[in-house]
Symmetry: C2
Subunit: 413 residues, 2 copies
């Protein structure tokens, strides 16, 4: 008997009918003799509807109240899924985040999970019940309802799998697995059978929407075996675990894109020890995720320009933080560039192939695309480019690095 | 500075626009220098929508899961109302039932409030905040989400007013106050300016939907001054408190009706000590509210027939309980009569006017209406009659006891 954690996203539980379908899949899994903890998201577009209602009443609602509001979405799903299971004669108990013992930081809208008290869940599992947990939410130590931010249900599932030492964590979603690129953008994209945590982490961070990056991080840190698969089609998904089989010998495994990027430059910042840490500590305290950072010293010995990229939604908040701290930070002015995007190539094979970055720049320059920022890691290269060029860039890179499905077919013919 | 508790029902918070309207009323109240705790229901028909979803998945959902589901309705409203207040520059904090310290019995769907820990609310009030509490819900000692049953938001408001020693509890609703009869049934019904707890209690128990009977009971027990008023029109409502001004000298103050009544008769029950208490303890344990009880011994010395009335929704449950305990209870069979209703007259003046019941029976017999059961208290007389005769009965009684508005007008002419 294995304990599995299975997570069903918003589309998978988008209607009464789909919830019934999920209940049937759970029943099948139980018949295989497994114990189950199921994590669910809010139904379909219900979160967006709640956000719409909130915006009618307040253009900038307080995060605490947004969490109070949005946490109801998953609470609806857990109770409905329990009822659907009961109708099939299956014992099940729903639990909100706080009831399942998910304790988070005292931060709203994007809290991180601090600890999970598995006592209540284990009691129900021992009683032969399916435990249905509301994803995306928890409670701070002082009893405030918190949420983990969009996509946080993945993180809930992986964190529960880690805390419960589950055999595997299945992420059921509306795609069949992880692809070499977004199939909506690159029709020739192929599905991967297996991928490493680091590659998945880079892909997730780079905007491949299949898995929340924190979920992958959490899976890597706790060595949780992840399986990404479709809740609609009964086909094999993509397994995410350490040391995947090198199926293809390809240097690059995937091309990712993230279309909502803004570049911010703090100009004329006085050079001094602690200047950089001061700047980025302030942004971190305001919970602004900074992605690429470039420190351009230029010719001046006393002043420096610092550029960084953020999600475009964070621009207002970022500017406020910077302006409120102008005296401490000591800089001349701030400029920013909107309507940018980021394209990235990811692959564990890069470590032993130093020419990959150059090949990427070459591909983009052949397409006459301007590169605004560059960032590299051992297994990925990212370029910030204009948003209008994104589609062309992703498709050209997918072809350049030999990922197109058509080519594979061509070989077979 | 007075502390008031104000409750806004589902219709009053049925849309973003109406929530804004409620926020403005709260602002006015604050400008009068009062402290406020506001209790809200779920938005408009949202509870019914949730119930509809549940029924799609399970014909008889477990009460625990229904509570989990329905409690989201009020949680949505508290967060939205807080956001609307923030938009007006008013400090406010939303609290779910459990966050507000409302502890209930460990019973689902119709839990009673056991205790209220006011600490969290008082902290926010001292900080100059409006506290917005989710009505209708609480939590049991072991952290299960419970609900108080339909109309329970009134009870929440009164219980909070009692626990916080509030000056007054305002119940804002979609009617302007308490009437001598349901104005939709009796067009000539008049609004009362004041009424006693006992009269209100009888009216509430008898199905006059303005206030939940438990709310009135709780107000009476704790001597909470209630005010029932419209959230749409800015007019005086009806005050409910002890010893109302005898404005009219009328014997009867109101005619109430309750249209969903079923009469159940347990026939051939063996006479023995404890037989009756055994029967009704079983029903009470199953949380079935029994209204009128009639013990008809007839001619037989050894066996008795016991009739009682229940809400028609309880019939299935009642029959199950009786059948499962046939051996212990020792009876011949059960018969029941559906499609009945109850009409009642209520008035403190009855105590000194013993002929009132006779006058009621006379009125109904003149209308050729069959009386199936009778129940009397010091300040009310109720008759169970066929549902088809309800409208005629209520109107005839309203006229007979001099409550018609037209008459009052006629005197003025």
């Amino acid at each position: 008997m294995s304990l599995l954690v299975q997570k069903f996203g918003g589309t998978s539980v988008g209607s009464a009918e789909r919830i019934q379908h999920v209940a049937k899949r759970i029943k099948q899994e139980l018949q295989r003799g497994n114990q189950l903890v199921v994590v669910v998201s809010a139904m379909g577009k219900s979160t967006d509807q709640l956000i719409g209602l909130a915006k009618e009443l307040n253009a900038a609602p307080e995060p605490r109240e947004m969490d109070m509001l949005l946490a109801t979405g998953e609470q609806v799903t857990i109770s409905l899924l329990s009822m659907a299971l009961h109708a099939l004669g299956i014992k099940a108990t729903s639990m909100t985040g706080w009831q399942a013992g998910i304790q988070t930081e005292a931060v709203h809208a994007k809290a991180r999970i601090k600890a999970i008290d598995t006592k209540a869940m284990l009691e129900k599992l021992e009683d032969g019940q399916v435990v249905i947990v509301a994803g995306f939410q928890g409670a701070s130590e002082d009893g405030q309802i918190t949420t983990l931010g969009r996509g946080g249900s993945d993180t809930t599932a992986v964190a529960l799998a880690a805390a419960l030492k589950a055999e595997r964590c299945d992420i059921f979603t509306d795609v069949t697995g992880v692809y070499t690129a977004d199939p909506r953008v690159v029709p020739l994209a192929r599905q991967l059978t297996q991928i490493s945590y680091d590659e998945m982490l880079e892909l997730a961070h780079l905007g491949a929407g299949v898995l929340h990056p924190r979920a992958v991080e959490c899976a890597k840190n706790n060595n949780v075996c992840l399986s990404v698969r479709s809740s609609f089609e009964d086909v094999e998904g993509t397994i995410v675990k350490e040391e995947p089989a090198m199926e293809d010998g390809l240097v690059v495994h995937g091309v990712a894109h993230d279309k909502q990027v803004t570049k911010v430059t703090v100009r004329g910042m006085k050079k001094r020890i602690g200047a950089l840490s001061g700047l980025f500590s302030l942004l971190a305290k305001a919970h602004i995720n900074v992605d690429i950072i470039i420190n351009q010293s230029m010719y001046d010995l006393d002043y420096t320009n610092i550029s960084f990229s953020i999600h475009q939604d964070e621009l207002r908040n970022t500017l406020t933080v910077l302006e409120n701290n102008k005296e401490n930070l000591v800089y001349k002015d701030i400029i920013y560039e909107e309507d940018l995007c980021k394209v990235s190539i990811v692959g564990a094979g890069m470590i032993s192939n130093p020419g990959v970055a150059a090949e990427m720049f070459d591909c983009l320059s052949t397409e006459n695309i301007e590169i605004k920022m560059v960032s590299t890691s051992e297994i990925k290269v990212s370029c910030v480019i204009p948003q209008v060029d994104m589609l062309r860039a992703v498709q050209a890179l997918h072809t350049t690095f030999g990922l197109d499905k058509a080519k594979a077919k061509a070989y077979q013919e």
